[in-house]
């Protein structure tokens, strides 16, 4: 238990650091802006109660917002992300009987499940974030292009980082 908390704290600090000081300066023509900090919320253990999950999601979102000067934007996107995560895990994990697993990680859940999980959660997060940022439906084509390219970038970073920290758990 204590180890899980420690790992999550380290992961949080590391991801926020990378997001705020490295990735904030990276962007391709304002079209593709990666937000891999959502990995923190995605990798929280399965047994985290809902209220704590939402609390952590809001906290993460607001922390990123503080660095990006966009009060509330990332928090709203993270709230959506947390909700989708709960629904997604409810739908997929119980049925496949993974309930005794601690964390939704690549090494534990397998590549196929983790990839779909990443794609769905990233898409929901980015759609919320970019639509709220544009605040309207004036230029849907531009917004969708940004969602598409940003999502590809984020998914790529998340999957790569999971492969780097890949640990196959023997069951």
């Amino acid at each position: 238990m204590g180890r899980t908390i420690l790992i999550n704290i380290v992961r949080f600090v590391l991801l926020i650091f990378i997001q705020a000081f490295l990735l904030k300066n990276i962007g391709f023509y304002n079209l593709s802006i990666p937000f891999p900090y959502i990995l923190f919320i995605m990798l929280l253990p399965f047994e985290v109660p809902n209220w704590l999950l939402f609390l952590l999601a809001m906290g993460t979102g607001l922390t990123v917002d503080a660095f990006y000067d966009t009060a509330g934007l990332n928090a709203a996107a993270c709230a959506v992300l947390a909700f989708v995560r709960i629904v997604f895990i409810n739908v997929t994990v119980e049925r496949q009987g993974f309930e005794n697993e601690p964390e939704p990680k690549l090494g534990i859940m397998g590549f196929r499940w983790f990839f779909i999980y990443t794609v769905v959660l990233t898409l929901f997060h980015h759609v919320t974030l970019i639509f709220l940022e544009a605040f309207g439906f004036f230029d849907v084509k531009d917004i969708l292009t940004r969602v598409f390219f940003s999502s590809i970038f984020t998914i790529f970073l998340i999957v790569i980082s999971e492969f780097i920290f890949f640990r196959k758990k023997e069951r």
């Binding site: 809902n50 009060a71 509330g72 934007l73 928090a75």
Partner: protein, 279 residues
């Protein structure tokens, strides 16, 4: 009650989601100026549109008065036409006119919203940035002055009416060239009168003298009619009497106005700022 509690705890994720999302949206709208202006701008456009629809009806009802005032103005302008003057020069030469340059141009606008009974009155006109209106321009009507442009959107502009406690207009009395500033409010809330301040006591002010714009400000050309002096009242112990001016402009039936564009204002302001900095 237990059922309700059971329902909430069963779908707790959804309720947490709603709470978090509402908090975030509130934060976004309160703190981000872009989204805030988005909300207020779209509502402004909506309000402006509504006003202009209602105004269509009012405009029709006032056609006769507007026609009268236009005819009067036409007659006034016709007087200044070249063909109204006796031309006693024999040879006409075409000369490139380098002596007189255009200083003021006028943009015509229709009043779509107007109030006269508030403490601070504003006017909305149906011209905006797209037509070249900028904040701070002067606004006049055929009979007198109206106010100063406050905010501008793409298609509409709000104007500080002269009947606004923050509006101050530099004015002078034609007969003796004394100048002061014309204000409204502060105990005087009659939409037909305003108060001329800062005229010293030693200047002889008579009822019926004309008050015009002074030309010291860049907003209005010199000599536009404002009104006539209605009464004066000396306040004890003060060196400035209170001069009440009857306004020429009838704010209650305002229909068409002209926004004044001063082509020299940037130059004049730059020069004055320079002098202030040096002094």
């Amino acid at each position: 009650m237990r059922n309700l509690w059971g329902f909430i705890s069963k779908y707790n994720a959804f309720f947490f989601f709603i709470i978090c999302f509402i908090i975030s949206i509130t934060l976004i709208i309160r703190n981000n100026s872009f989204q805030r202006s988005g909300v207020f701008n779209s509502s402004n456009e909506f309000v402006g549109e509504a006003y202009s629809r209602i105004n269509k009806v009012q405009r029709y009802l006032r056609l006769a008065e507007v026609n009268d005032s236009l005819a009067k103005e036409n007659a006034f302008l016709r007087k200044d036409l070249k063909m109204s003057h006796f031309d006693d020069s024999l040879v006409q030469q075409s000369v490139l006119d380098t002596v007189s340059r255009q200083q003021y141009t006028y943009i015509v606008a229709r009043v779509v919203n107007n109030s006269i009974h508030q403490k601070n009155n504003y006017i909305t006109i149906n011209r905006g940035t797209r037509h070249g209106i900028l904040p701070g321009m002067g606004v006049i009507c055929p009979s007198g002055i109206v106010g100063i442009v406050k905010d501008v959107s793409a298609d509409f502009a709000t104007v500080y009416s002269l009947l606004h406690s923050d509006t101050k207009i530099s004015a002078s009395i034609t007969e003796n060239q004394a100048f002061g500033s014309l204000v409204w409010g502060e105990g005087n809330s009659d939409p037909r009168t305003a108060v001329l301040q800062d005229i010293p006591n030693h200047i002889q002010v008579k009822i019926g003298q004309h008050v015009v714009t002074s030309g010291y400000s860049t907003l209005f050309p010199e000599g536009l009619p404002i009104g006539r002096i209605l009464r004066t009242k000396e306040k004890g112990g003060e060196s400035f009497p209170e001069i009440v001016v009857r306004l020429d402009t009838d704010f209650s039936t305002l229909q068409y106005v002209y926004v004044i564009k001063n082509l020299f204002s940037a130059e004049k302001e730059k020069l004055e700022k320079q002098s202030k900095k040096d002094g």
